[in-house]
Amino acid sequence: MSDIEKAIAGDEPSLVPYVTAGDPEPEATAEYVEALAAGGADVIELGMPFSEPIADGPTIQNAIQRALAAGTTPERFFEIVETLDVDVPLVCMTYYNLLYQYGDRKEGSDYERLRPFVRRAAEAGISGLIIPDLPVDESDPLREACDEFGVDLIFVVAPTTTDERLEAMRERVSGFVYVQARLGTTGAQADVSDATHESLARLAEWSVPKAVGFGVSEREHAEEIVATGADGVVAGSVFVDIVAEGDADEGTVAERLEAKAAELKAGALDGADERSGKVTDGAR
């Protein structure tokens, strides 16, 4: 079992928060990550900014623009990761072109071109990758490089994913499977969709843990997601919103990140209680 799997599939339901590294500037990230860990994060997702984030909604897109404007290159991202002092596994979420261009070599097979990125990520302390614009059908070269350096490769399952594609992912996924709770891009939303239910049912037999995200912002969402059967909750835009607001009367960014993480974690714990209650009621 990888560190990520252990962290998500542990006894308690887990929280996987996301922030964009380098937002609003590279120096800020360490403090934010530590705050998220202090609030109860089990795994932390760090966005590596790419200029064309087609899978992200406006909140994260704006964060990415701030981070890019502040000079957050892939190399700077790795330097940030190296300075982090947290003992939760870190996942890098970014887009394929940055992996493909990393390193000096501008030719060769995909595997050869991806290898320097994965090696650098592993050295810096990244435990897993999420590459939303890399479809599972094209992922074998990256899977190979990830295996070589012991990095997990996480896939996103959408409500629309066909059974055939699901099977292809099941064969290749590691760490956890990221269940996208609704259609569309990332972004905080008002409620948890029914699609979550159905997706989790389709993944019931998978050996990797399942974390549900896209639109999670409130304690009740986390509760409902875990009560529905997820091992973990992923939340991004809600944290990125806090970073975007900056320090405020209600507290510094770090304080509010920690409080929000604690709130969502508490919701997840409530959800687990509900679920075990249901189990003893014979509802399962």
Binding site: N97, Q180, G184
Partner: protein
Amino acid sequence: MSTTKFGEYGGQYVPEVLMPAIEELTDAYERYVLENEDGFMDEFRERLADFGGRPTPLQRADQLSERYDADVYLKREDLLHGGAHKLNNALGQVLLAKYMGKERIVAETGAGQHGTATAMAAAHLDMPCEIYMGRRDINRQRPNVFRMRLNGAEVVPVTVGRGTLKEAINETMREWATSVEDTHYVIGSIVGPHPFPRMVRDFQAVIGEEAREQIQDKAGRLPDSVVACAGGGSNTMGAFHEFVPDAEDGDTTLFAVEAGGEGLFVDEDEGVAPHSASLSSGDEGVLHGARTKLLQDADGQIVESHSVSSGLDYAGVGPELSYLVDEGHVTPVSVDDDAALEGFHRLSQVEGIIPALESAHAVAFLEQQLGPDGVPAGTAERDLGDVIVLNLSGRGDKDLESAIEETEKRDIDAAPDMGVFHE
């Protein structure tokens, strides 16, 4: 299943949520377009004729021919309904969306020309339609914005980034990701994930099919060269597709003319390229669902492109063109903003045809190679030759506002003197 790639280029690099829509579209493309199921292609061709006005003429340009001492023929896509080749694709895709049972159309637009064509096709086929357009392009192309609204489309301004085509595509992909179940995304060029590059090319291939027959009727032989401007590359591939075997045989040279803007370099500090010549100077990478040649910095961040013509202002290019360039079957060349503007005025003056600023790049390439002050860049086998087909992708009415503004910034020989009309 049709292959998703052209050599190493192409593919389907999109978020998982879009994959089912792309698979559904691939299936529909194979059945309706490739196999003419339910007579789809027959209906498409019929509508292109009756609504679109096809075939478009292949006209000998007498004054240009004399100037260049060659036979210059213009494929008059500017005479297609809506004023550009874009209708071929828009009509094909909106009709396909109908056959697929989709209820709504979304599209992006750069110059507004694709948006206009899509709005027309959607009105013609009675489909609701929403069009995403960069804020900056909205300002550059007001007549087209008005035309889209006239035809009943919603125009949604995109304010992120520099507000050009690249941002509009990002935004349309996001919108599509929330509405894939009942919505079709009419992409505007031979870009994006498979099957778009192939399908759009197939819808545009009618240009070259007609041109190849017409030139044999008129000149009695195949052309020595076919010249077209390349933004994403749809009019280029539309004009070239039927001639690719001739290019392979060495009979015809295919020139893709890119926007050289203000010079072929990338300012890495600013993250901008003052041009849009991705075939001539881009590196392989992945953007908007396809692997292709891109303008990017050393890290792989996509840089902002530039062209005086918004329709060419894009940091990527169709994967098939990238492939054909690598194979040596298409020759990429570029002309800068100043030359394109001069081409715009020259064609208007000598032939009475106001070209789109995009097409003016192709016109300018002839002048650069064959004109009195021309500096031919070609080697013997890369010559334009004696019989030249130039694909005039669109008319310039949409560009009049920016042409006035850009002309005033420059000293252009062929430009009319408007001073007398100033109070």
